[in-house]
């Protein structure tokens, strides 16, 4: 469960996120959509505690991201836009390192490692250096890194980017199975991915949340493309207002 309330993030003059509120319920996969530069990555970075918010609150599993940061970080698995890998480590060595960072007990480590290597299809490359892996494998190691400590909350920033069609299908299937007991926030530009995988959709445009609804409600008689285009061309931002003033 993630609750975002009145979240605002300013970089100096520029407001990346403005008064955003939405909820990602437990056991559901939330598709987080928006054009490039809309504030998706910023929002996700705030939820994971990497960036501080200018104002507003974020609660993850009931813990406040700002005041109980370490409790939150213990419960989150995070795959940033580019997978955070040390190129001089082997896949297994890296995952072991991450597991220790996440505070896993030594005894659980071997089991967890085998589990994520298996689920992410990395068993064959476990002893290869990360720097020598292809983009698809790197992405999967990134996903494995987010999953290793079996967190109740997963934040995935464009997890299928750079994968070939077969891998995309595999990763989607994997993400779908992750939903059941976890809260998953999935950001992506691939709309069919959302309609296949997600239960709920949040669309952000120009830092504002413009759509928050169950996928089933949004899709009544419309494609997700229609919903998306309509949502991001609605008169919400200062840009649109300025354009209106000019005419």
């Amino acid at each position: 469960m993630i609750e975002v309330a009145n979240l605002t993030k300013r970089y100096g003059e520029l407001a990346a996120v403005r008064d955003a509120s939405f909820t990602a319920p437990s056991g559901q996969i939330l598709g987080f959509l928006g054009p490039n530069g809309a504030g998706k990555t910023t929002t996700m970075r705030i939820i994971t505690g990497f960036l501080p918010a200018t104002s507003g609150t974020v609660r993850v599993e009931g813990f406040d991201v700002f005041t109980q940061s370490s409790e939150v970080r213990r419960r989150i698995g995070y795959l940033p836009e580019s997978p955070p890998l040390y190129n001089d480590m082997t896949a297994a060595g890296f995952l072991r390192f991450v597991a220790r960072l996440k505070g896993m007990a030594r005894g659980d480590l071997a089991g967890a490692l085998d589990r994520v290597l298996e689920t992410c299809g990395l068993t064959d490359v476990r002893d290869r250096l990360l720097g020598h892996l292809s983009k698809g494998y790197r992405q999967r190691v990134g996903l494995a890194q987010a999953l290793i400590h079996d967190p109740p909350v997963l934040i995935l920033d464009e997890p299928t980017i750079g994968l070939d069609p077969r891998q995309i299908i595999e990763i989607r299937r994997l993400i779908k199975t992750l939903g059941g007991k976890r809260t998953v926030v999935l950001s992506t530009h691939i709309l069919p991915e959302v309609s296949q995988v997600c239960d709920k959709v949040v669309i952000i445009n120009d830092g504002r949340i413009v759509v928050e609804d169950e996928l089933a409600n949004l899709m009544r008689g419309r494609t997700l493309e229609d919903v998306f285009i309509e949502a991001i061309s609605r008169d919400t931002g200062d840009g649109a207002r300025a354009a209106a003033a000019e005419t």
């Binding site: 994971t48 990497f50 040390y86």
Partner: protein
């Protein structure tokens, strides 16, 4: 503490899983070995000259420590000014570039543990370097008769100085995501710290005293003479703590922006 060791272990291993550690160790030891050889040759030559002049008084005043060990330690300290920033320069820039900075900062690890872990990882390599150069001292003990306690104090001073160098390098690498800036910035800071004493020599009164106290060379020289004084150890410890504390603040400051 477990987190500190996890991060330190990864940091130290990363130096050895690339050629970095080997190149730095080789460069340092080869140059230090050359200095050692040159100093020793000069010593031998002078000794022979005085022996031929049959001046036992002069020969007796001859001293391996003063003519070989002390200058060698000073030369090695200058080498470290150039080598240690090469160890610290990648600490933070590389994490920021590869995105692993995000991984570290979103893990349930305190910022202090990250800073200490990275510092200790680098320190492992720095101390290995100093320890290996202890071989020159070992050679002198084997074939000559230097004053061992004095030499040990000198090496201890070198190790302390290298530790402080690394802490300053760590601090400067935390400011940037560019390795060149991290290297040159650290080099600049260390050279200032090393040479600020020159200013103190000509300055009078309290200001001169302060500048002389701030000079790292002053404190290091005392130790190469075999004097382990609390005031010198306190000086090194103070610099170390200040640098690490500022690094902590600098990394934390990501959260203030």
């Amino acid at each position: 503490m477990r987190n500190v060791l996890t991060i330190a272990g990864r940091e130290l291993r990363s130096y050895f899983s690339s050629p970095v550690a080997y190149v730095l160790l080789a460069a340092y030891l080869a140059l230090a070995g050359y200095f050692f050889f040159a100093l020793l040759s000069a010593f031998n030559q002078t000794l022979q000259m005085y022996s031929m002049m049959r001046n036992p008084e002069m020969v007796a005043r001859f001293n391996l420590n003063q003519m070989v060990v002390v200058p060698l330690l000073h030369n090695m300290s200058v080498l470290l000014i150039f080598i240690v920033p090469a160890i610290s320069m990648r600490m933070f820039p590389e994490e920021k570039r590869s995105g692993t900075y995000e991984l570290l900062l979103t893990s349930p690890v305190r910022v202090g543990e990250i800073v200490l872990g990275k510092f200790l990882g680098g320190l492992g390599l720095v101390l290995l370097m100093v320890a290996l150069s202890g071989y020159f001292g070992r050679l002198l003990v084997r074939y000559g008769n230097p004053e061992v306690p004095m030499m040990v104090a000198g090496y201890l001073g070198l190790a302390l100085m290298a530790t402080v160098f690394l802490a300053i390098g760590t601090l400067i690498s935390s400011f940037t995501d560019n390795v060149v800036i991290a290297y040159v910035g650290a080099l600049f800071a260390l050279l200032v710290l090393y040479t600020i004493g020159w200013l103190g020599e000509t300055m009078q009164g309290a200001a001169g005293g302060i500048v002389r106290y701030a000079s790292i060379t002053e404190h290091f020289s005392e130790m190469t003479k075999g004097i382990i004084d609390t005031k010198d150890v306190v000086y090194f410890a103070t610099l170390l703590l200040i640098a690490l504390f500022l690094t902590l603040r600098s990394v934390e400051s990501v959260r203030w922006r």
